[in-house]
Amino acid sequence: MNNTILSITIALIFGIGTFLILRRDIIKIIIGLSLISHAVNMLIVSTGVFDGEKAPIITDGHHGSGSGIIFTDKLSEGILAPIVPSGVETPFVDPLVQALVLTAIVISLATTAFILILAYRIHEEYGTTDIRKLRRLRG
């Protein structure tokens, strides 16, 4: 049930973002872009949540029977997330997607900052933020 609600939320945000990108105002386009990037970030996070809900901190007790192996990915036993303690029934969320989404958030912060400054300069230069009126590049 939760997964369905999450999927619907992601789809809605993505749809609203797409709608905003197709508007004529530069600022609306930028808001649409950041909505889409949020939807994509939620998608990435949602791929890492299996059945587990604990934070992915592995203590000594979970290392399995003395083998010390942390990494198992045997394809014959089903596709596992890369970092799963051997002999443990994955009560953890996948830590890697959280690292990935952090990177993606930082990158989208940088691009949004850049594009907002660009929009400001375009407004200074052209005196408008309407896409239809900035058509100096032709041919």
Binding site: I36, T103, F114, L137
Partner: protein
């Protein structure tokens, strides 16, 4: 400590370190320039050593942090290190060129730093073995190139508002492309549980052999066409390129058209031939179709242009179509041919863009109808543009002829008769628009000096002419002595079609 083991990470880390250092050195412009040239030259040297090392002793794998395939990996195979040599060679020459070409204020503050970030992004994209890192390096490339496009040049022929509008278009389209790439990566990770490309390849091959390939793998593969097609500007996604590449300063246009759009071709080669081998039967017709439309659209649009750099940009669109045609055919010979084409186009097109910078400097405008008779007042630029135009048009004895010959030969051997016919027809278009540009600019009568003002009598400095001459020499050498390049390309094509050594090199070392 053996320095040669650490070459892959040095190629990425040195430019990033330097980009931070360059900002701090902005009060000492001369030192900054010298340092940046030394750094670029040493990156070129390192990349050549890396290529020789890969050629002699096989694929080099560098595990950052020694986490094996679960961490970040840099993998230097022949394709990656070859592309690094190409990009660092062109970037060294473009850097030397830009020292005199870019306006002093813009050069001292941010230019060097962003240029180094661009180099780091290129090297990282070519060397990474991890698909999420490829996304990160794409973003580095995107932001640094956006900053460079708005740098102002000495002549001041391009208005800043044009640059900003072009950058806005470029940025929006590429952010959407990056979002598509993230969606594809997230779906891939959710299915396969890994991001390492060699590991992905093994897992997808296992699933395919067992006949339990999830159906959405094919859709992920299709999403990657959007991502890399957007980077390479193939047909439905090409329309940002003719705005961005001409409005950038000439050395940056040379980098963008010479190397940046090849990143898309590299991505297709790497991701499809390594990860999605089993989906290739579905993708190849699509790539061939898009490539043919790209060739046609670029060539037709280039014929009517009056702006010299816009013509060259449309020509880039058309030429990248030929590279994708070779990739789409997918035999060993066709892949080698498309790599030969890629190298030749990279060198010839960056030389043409650098030359167009000299022409603009001389004429003070980008409009070809306002030029004319420049063969007398700018003989060097005229002969250099002629060499580049002949190479792009595919006339012997220059590099472009060999490239087109090998590509069409491969297509004939693979019995792709209709693509050959279309490609050949638009190769004739190429000859037409290239020589029309040359005639308009250099032949005929000198322009009306009352209406447009006289040509600049200011000569071009050696900083501007020497890189152009070096690249022209490279074009000539690739034309008359092309065996080493063809041998290297065939070897790369064999490696691409048989990724087992790559997989062994990446996964063999990781015992965890």
């Amino acid at each position: 400590m053996n320095i040669q083991e650490h070459l892959p990470i040095l190629l990425v880390a040195t430019p990033i370190l330097m980009s931070a250092l360059m900002i701090m050195l902005r009060s000492r412009p001369t030192f900054q320039k010298t340092l940046n040239i030394i750094v670029s030259a040493s990156i070129l040297l390192m990349s050549i050593i890396l290529l020789l090392q890969v050629w002699n002793s096989g694929i080099q794998v560098y595990e950052v942090g020694e986490w094996g395939k679960y961490g970040i990996m840099l993998v230097a195979d022949l394709l990656g290190s070859g592309m690094v040599v190409l990009s660092s060679g062109i970037s060294l020459l473009a850097l030397i060129y830009s020292l005199d070409y870019i306006e002093g204020k813009s050069l001292n503050t941010t230019y060097h730093s962003l240029f180094n970030l661009l180099v780091a992004g290129l090297n990282g994209t070519f060397l990474t073995g991890d698909i999420f890192n490829m996304f990160v390096f794409f973003e580095i490339l995107l932001l640094s190139s956006c900053g460079l496009v708005v740098a102002s040049e000495n002549g001041g022929v391009t208005k800043i508002s044009d640059k900003m509008e072009a950058t806005f278009k470029y940025l929006i389209l590429n952010i959407i492309g990056s979002m598509v790439m993230l969606i594809a990566i997230a779906s891939l990770y959710a299915t396969m549980g890994t991001l390492n490309m060699a590991d992905l390849s093994v897992k997808i091959a296992t699933l395919s052999d067992a006949g339990t390939m999830p159906w959405h793998i094919y859709f992920i593969a299709l999403l990657f066409i959007i991502v890399f097609g957007n980077k390479a500007a193939i047909f439905p996604l090409h329309y940002w390129l003719p705005d961005v590449h001409p409005t950038a300063p000439s050395p940056i246009s040379a980098m963008l058209s010479g190397v940046m759009i090849k990143v898309g071709a590299y991505g297709i080669l790497r991701v499809y031939f390594l990860v999605f081998k089993d989906a290739l039967f579905l993708l190849q017709p699509i790539i061939i179709l898009l490539a043919l439309i790209t060739i046609a659209i670029g060539a037709i649009a280039a014929v009517g242009q009056k702006d010299v750099k816009r013509l060259l940009a449309y020509s880039s669109v058309s030429q990248i179509g030929y590279v994708f045609l070779g990739i789409g055919m997918g035999t060993a010979y066709a892949l080698a041919a498309s790599l030969v084409y890629l190298v030749n186009h990279a060198i010839a097109k960056s030389m043409l863009f650098l030359t167009s910078g000299g022409i603009i400097h001389h004429a003070g405008t980008r409009d070809m109808h306002q030029m004319g008779g420049m063969v007398k007042s700018a003989p060097l630029m005229s002969s250099m543009f002629l060499i580049g135009a002949m190479s792009i048009a595919g006339l012997p004895p220059l590099g472009g002829f060999i490239a087109k010959f090998v590509l069409f030969d491969a297509a004939m051997l693979g019995e792709y008769y209709l693509p050959v016919l279309i490609g050949f027809a638009f190769a004739v278009f190429t000859i037409f628009y290239m020589f029309r540009a040359w005639l308009l600019m250099f032949w005929g009568e000198a322009r009306d000096s009352e209406k447009y003002g006289p040509y600049s009598s200011h000569g071009l400095s050696p900083m501007i002419t020497v890189p152009i001459i070096i690249l022209a020499a490279a074009v000539l050498i690739l034309g008359v002595y092309s065996e080493p390049l063809i041998a290297l390309s065939s070897e790369i094509a064999n490696q691409l079609l048989d990724p087992q050594p790559y997989i062994n090199a990446v996964l063999g070392g990781s015992v965890r």
